[in-house]
Amino acid sequence: MVIVDRRANPQGKSLANRQRFLERVRGDVKRAVADTIARRRIADVDSGEEVRVRVDGTEEPGFATTPEGEHDYVLPGPGTLNRGDRIRKPQGGSGRGQGRKAGRGSGEDPFEFTLTREEFLNYFLDELELPRLARTSVMQDKLSKPQRAGISIYGYPSALDVRRTMRNSLARRIALRRPDLGTLEAVQARVAAAREAGDEDALAQAEAHLAQLRQRMARIPYVDPIDVRYARHERRPVPATEAVMFCLMDVSGSMTEHMKDLAKRFFMLLHLFLGRRYDRVHVVFIRHTERAAEVDEDTFFRSRETGGTLVSSALDVMLAVQRARFPRDRFNLYVAQASDGDNDSADRARVTYLMDEHILPIVRYFAYVETGGERGAFPHHAGRRTTELWDTYDSLSPEHEQLAMRRLNDSAAVWGVLADLFAKSGAAAA
């Protein structure tokens, strides 16, 4: 007989089959991921919470018979039945099987299963058509760097802390009264002097002393293993700083649900990216019409307001929040703005001033996305090919490389907005 311990075998033997299955039910999975995105808060986009996928699209048909016809069953009875007794058939066919093979092969019950965090993120990023390189930088675990963390009695030779080791060694030698070279030389000189003087007594005494010193020196090592100290290192996540992400959105009537959904995906992706780089990412939601206010996430995406559009109001609120709570020396500032490009033309001067003088100089990145309609139709203003806000920002962009602008009409384009940012961070990391 042989006993084999298979527990340590590589896990996930069925992973390949699982991926094949996921491909089969791609439609269902995509729908589930979209639902989850709609339900999740921006900051939870990569949380460990389960994504459940309900599957009903994978049939494995086979020939099977219907319950029709004459069937005879012999079954275990309750002991109270007698010849000629009748039992009502369950309505609707199924229910209690009465010995019938419960619909073998026939349209299997739909079932739910759970996506892992990686699978979910993959689908999310797939839809955004994130390039491979950027994907790894989003998916990888936090970067870490070794940092000094005190001393240790174990370690590798290159981490030997020489000064501390020698200090311990010296202290031990003094405490155990290991003779130093000077003492030894003095006694040797005494031996030599006694030999020269021919003083037998003194010579014997000095030689005995010398032998004793030598013995003591040999017994007490110069450096003992207990003296040795190593520098200890710990891996600490870097950079250990905080970031704040301002989400600005125009919520006036012209923003449709589709546009808001695009904006949400864009905010999520930015958050995901920032979450990898910073220990903590604060998110501030500011919505505006002609007036702006800081709101919570639900209000931000759900509620709708009517009114004109003054972008500068949102910028004002953003600056006020930043000054009050997020000093620029402690926080990395990121701004993500989504809008359909509408703005009052009288507001242009103030927007330009705020951006140029106050905002762009302090933020690390200002991403502006202009969301279009579902079929890619942008709300054009009579005769103008670009929108008011686009024009305004466009005039600023040559002097400020931290300003990125994109037009969005489907989710695959979201990535493009952040492309420059990823490219930059990739270069910085390398």
Partner: protein, 505 residues
């Protein structure tokens, strides 16, 4: 004797000691004959893995296994479904998977059940001897896995999946029910290699340019002659649809035929298991019960362990009656165990009734001899027809329930009394008739020189009809394999009248 273990903990020495103690009893006292055992300790995740590939340790890749895994895992995590304590594979050496979570008592139970009960059955039952090749199955699985992977690499995954999906749909109709010769799995890989070499050696592009004989130009009589000759070569009717496609499909490439063959071989491998559920589980359950009792009698397991064992044992053989909420058909463990116990009792201490029912062996004093004979020579249908005694029928209070489409009620036609015993035993045996495992569908005809339409026939017995929706979808798969249109007629088996006709699109 000293206790084999104390408490729930176990290690590999314990398993070894348990196996030796069980072996002494099973082989030494009861005379079981087993393949060498290989016990593999696995985790629950690996158990789920094994579930998804029908318990086989190796399997080619296919999405349907991933689906089964996802579903089983979801059910398991939500607590709707427990995991089996063990899975045992009909191979030599006989591989038993046991879960690491099991207590020492459960491991003992599992070893007695799988390593001796099932193992003895696999080795001795005539169906397994006839149909399966225990020495070669592991090697064959490795070949199948590598071959499918190679095809995917060469032909692309989509092309491979197309064939496998279709073949999977026809799996129940891909079985030879009557053995022609024993399948030598070890020769499969060799057979493929020889065929391939033959094709390479005989490749001759020039021969293709020789103008062929056009059947359309032949005289009507000659044509008829040719057609009947070609049809005779097909040996119709053929009930093994996968075999038919593999051999005669005009469209398939060599590797596609090979894939069909792999699916067919594996379906055939499981065919005996489907026919011997009651006998197999009855054998294993009876063996573990007897072995555990002996271990306790000889002082090798404690009273506590015996009680723990009895608790699991009694939940394994629970059989709710048909009015019970939990009822879901017969529990093969319960039915099998009851029959085996009854037979052992009849051999040891029969009463008048038993002597009348089982004159051949009642009171012969050799229960293990009787049981070994039953396990070696019967499948479920025969076991029930010949060895279901009146005591067992009474203990389950068996009734005969008639289900007629026209009748809104089920009707009790027979119960377990003098008048009903014979009929009940025979009807229950009919229920385990292999023909009822899957609808019987045959290839009846092929339009050889015209549209090449394949004609299938389902004989409808006693009003049993095919599910039309599924039939159409399955025909679609059949068309993939055949390459041309496939139609299916349902015939009333008594009158020969055509009831319905389905066709692939």
């Amino acid at each position: 004797m000293a206790l084999l273990f104390d408490g729930a903990e176990w290690d590999f020495q314990t398993l070894d000691a348990i196996h030796r103690a069980c072996e002494d009893i099973a082989v030494g006292e009861f005379g079981l004959q087993v393949y060498p055992n290989q016990i593999e300790v696995i985790t629950s995740e690996q158990m789920l893995d094994a579930y998804s590939s029908n318990g086989l340790p190796l399997m080619y890749s296919h999405w349907s296994f991933g689906k089964r895994f996802a579903r089983d895992e979801a059910l398991y995590r939500q607590g709707y479904q427990g995991l089996a304590y063990e899975i045992v594979i009909n191979s030599s050496p006989c591989i038993s998977y046991i879960m690491e979570e099991n207590t020492a008592t459960l491991q003992t139970l599992v070893i007695a059940h799988a390593c001796f009960g099932h193992n003895h059955f696999f080795r001795n039952n005539y169906l397994f001897r006839q149909w399966t090749d225990a020495e070669a199955i592991l090697g064959y699985l490795a070949f199948a896995k590598a071959y499918v992977a190679e095809c995917e690499e060469r032909q692309g995954r989509a092309a491979v999946e197309r064939i496998l999906d279709a073949a999977h749909a026809l799996r129940p109709q891909g079985i030879h029910r009557y053995p022609k010769r024993r399948w030598r799995l070890a020769e499969e890989a060799e057979r493929r290699r020889v065929r391939h070499e033959h094709a390479e050696v005989n490749y001759d592009p020039l021969m293709r340019t020789v103008p062929g004989f056009r059947i359309g130009q032949a005289a009507p009589e000659a044509r008829q002659q040719l057609e009947s000759e070609a049809r005779a070569r097909l040996r119709l009717p053929e009930e093994n649809l996968l075999y038919f496609c593999e051999k005669h499909s005009p469209r398939l490439a060599g590797w596609e035929r090979e894939l069909i063959r792999i699916v067919r071989v594996l379906a055939q491998y499981f065919y005996p298991q489907a026919q011997t559920k009651v006998a197999n589980e009855g054998c294993a359950t009876f063996c573990h019960y007897e072995i555990m009792t002996r271990l306790h009698e000889t002082g090798q397991i404690s009273d506590g362990a015996l009680l723990e064992f009895l608790h699991s044992h009694s939940s394994v053989i629970l059989q709710p009656d048909l009015l019970d909420e939990r009822f879901a058909g017969w529990n093969p463990y319960a039915l099998g165990f009851a029959i085996m116990r009854d037979l052992a009792r009849v051999a040891r201490e029969p009463d008048e009734e038993d002597r009348a029912w089982f004159p051949a062996f009642a009171g012969n004093g050799d229960p293990w001899g009787v049981l070994r004979d039953v396990w070696a020579n019967y499948r479920d249908e025969g076991l029930i027809r010949q060895f279901l005694g009146p005591k067992v029928m009474r203990s389950f209070r068996m009734v005969h329930l008639a289900d007629r489409t026209a009748d809104p009620d089920y009707c009790i036609n027979d119960i377990h009394d003098e008048e009903g015993y014979r009929r009940i035993a025979s009807l229950l045996a009919d229920q385990y008739e292999p023909a009822t495992l899957a609808p019987l569908i045959e290839v009846a005809d092929v339009d050889l020189f015209g549209s090449r339409t394949l004609k299938l026939v389902h004989q409808s017995h006693r009003g049993a009809r095919l599910d039309g929706d599924l039939a159409k979808k399955t025909l679609q798969h059949m068309q993939v394999l055949w390459g041309y249109r496939v139609c299916l007629q349902e015939h009333d088996a008594d009158t020969g009248r055509v009831l319905t006709e389905y066709a692939s699109a």
